[in-house]
Homo-oligomer: 319 residues x 2
């Protein structure tokens, strides 16, 4: 049996467009294998180029279809494209529900497209920690654009806004009425808004309401970005070219205004913090083979110890 | 000006049903004030009684309306009820979008109901860390049931499944078709499924599809819980009594099967870990007044250092 591959060699092969090398590298970072640090160091000199685009929206708005259509559009423009589909996984199985093939079958065989489903493993900080590592692999592999598709609204949006250079918020007619959009906190995080399934009833009303709500946003800086509200029918690729154009314009604005630098800095900060915290979490779980945490947990449940005192003891012991 | 209140005194007053004392305690834990540890220790002997119920679902399914109707139902049964509404907040403003008064106005003046909106502050582990503390306050204050309402699907569901004794997943007709529900990973986490807005078209189909999908779930244990799929029109309080009954039945099952003990243990474990990680995060940010993290971030962005090496250095310096 051959020994483990040399990470630097794998990175070179990934940069040359070898799909298997990319897949292997992502697995190595995703599973926190023993070579993780070597891989991370080998990636570093090649990162920081890709346009990182977040795509988000509630279930049912057509995220996967839109992602796929956008991949086709960007490929037509000669860009190398990476896709990270962050699936919520069962907290019980730990696995992603839909495989890469099922989701993005039409791009199979195109060696300018790298697609990966990320399982969010359910441990604390899961998204924060593993996704940026996979993103670094795709970036280093020479992807011009990396699309990060996240499911759902809520916590994950707050993550993605710190993660992406540009964020696309997808809505569908009837699901995007004003108060719901505001509740979900999506108005502040979108750089480009897309009302998909625009051939359905109520699409124009959703677009109008969204525009009205966006006017209430506090402008950020002297030359603020005004998020466009676009309409698409992703299943027929209608309007996708305009989405690609808007992303290009947003990137140009973000470069000029310093917003991209700000987000990249914040992304790197949070990545470092998340890695540090994950290290500490792993260390806390290892204290006396996990017995320390079990014992402290039992004492908290009996009411004899409060969780803060328990955390102090655990940190003390894991230091 | 009077000095800061004595936490033990506040806890006694909260247990006597004083709304202001409850509010004050939650603020003290939510803002990680200097008395947090004292508060936490004072709460400990009184916790562990409340039935913790998670309510979740996509925006637009009627979560707030359902929560409010369930509060009314439980009050009618003579239970003391706490509500924690975990709002996604703008990552920019840091504030909750809708105030407590707007959401639950009809329960104002009922001193058997404690309602609190939690802002998810967008920092790593925000939900994991602050919500359990507020929950402990409501539990110690003598709430028989604490409803934790979270917005959205994705990450936050994985959190809530570790948090709640019983989890209610809300859907609405047309939003809950099979594949979407599976994608959102909600099938595994629900103990009780509720199709709200059951007077709308397609409600029966959604119920049927959901039941079919649930039959595919892997049974957990020898006498597994079979999650009921109920129909409600929360705005007219229709079907809410059945939801309250189902929650009562689930609690009885969870007590008997050991599932409640398992979840409480997991909840306490994760709470301890989350507190420990938050401590470390705060420590990492404080190294040389934040300069250390800034410097390391800049080095990562220049490509000279990879994030793992940066995290190692930071942990070293914050130890």
């Amino acid at each position: 049996m051959p020994g483990p591959p040399d990470p630097r060699d794998l990175v070179e092969r990934a940069r040359a467009g070898e799909q298997l090398a990319v897949a292997r590298l992502i697995s190595m970072v995703e599973n926190s294998g023993p070579q993780l640090r070597e891989v991370s160091a080998a990636l570093s000199p090649h990162t920081g180029r890709a346009h990182v685009v977040g795509l988000t929206g509630s279930p049912g708005v057509g995220k996967s279809t839109s992602t796929s259509a956008l991949v086709t559009e960007l490929r037509g423009r000669g860009r190398r494209v990476g896709v990270l589909a962050v699936d919520p996984s069962s907290p019980f199985s730990g696995g992603a529900l839909l495989g890469d093939r099922v989701r993005m079958g039409e791009h199979a065989g195109d060696d300018g497209v790298f697609i990966r489903s990320m399982a969010t493993r359910g441990h604390l900080g899961g998204l924060s920690w593993a996704t940026p590592q996979a993103l670094r692999v795709l970036d280093a592999a020479g992807c011009d654009v990396v699309l990060v598709e996240t499911v759902g609204v809520g916590q994950s949006e707050v993550e993605i806004v710190g993660l992406a250079d540009s964020t696309v918020v997808l809505l569908a007619p009837g699901m995007g009425d004003g108060i719901q959009a505001a509740k979900a906190g999506i108005l502040e995080i979108g750089d480009v808004f897309v009302v998909n399934k625009a051939d359905r009833e109520g699409a124009r009303r959703t677009v109008r309401e969204l525009r009205n709500m966006l006017h209430l946003r506090t402008p950020d800086g002297p030359e603020p970005w005004e998020p466009p509200v676009l309409s698409t029918v992703a299943s027929r690729s209608e309007g996708i070219d305009a989405v690609a154009d808007a992303l290009q314009e947003h990137l140009a604005w973000a470069e000029k205004s310093g917003e991209r630098a700000r987000r990249r800095r914040e992304r790197a900060r949070r990545e470092i913090e998340a890695i540090g915290m994950e290290q500490v979490r792993a260390r806390m779980e290892r204290v006396r083979g996990g017995d320390a945490l079990d014992t402290l947990t039992a004492r908290v449940l009996e009411g004899g110890l409060d969780p803060w005192a328990a955390a102090d003891e655990l940190l003390e012991q894991s230091g």
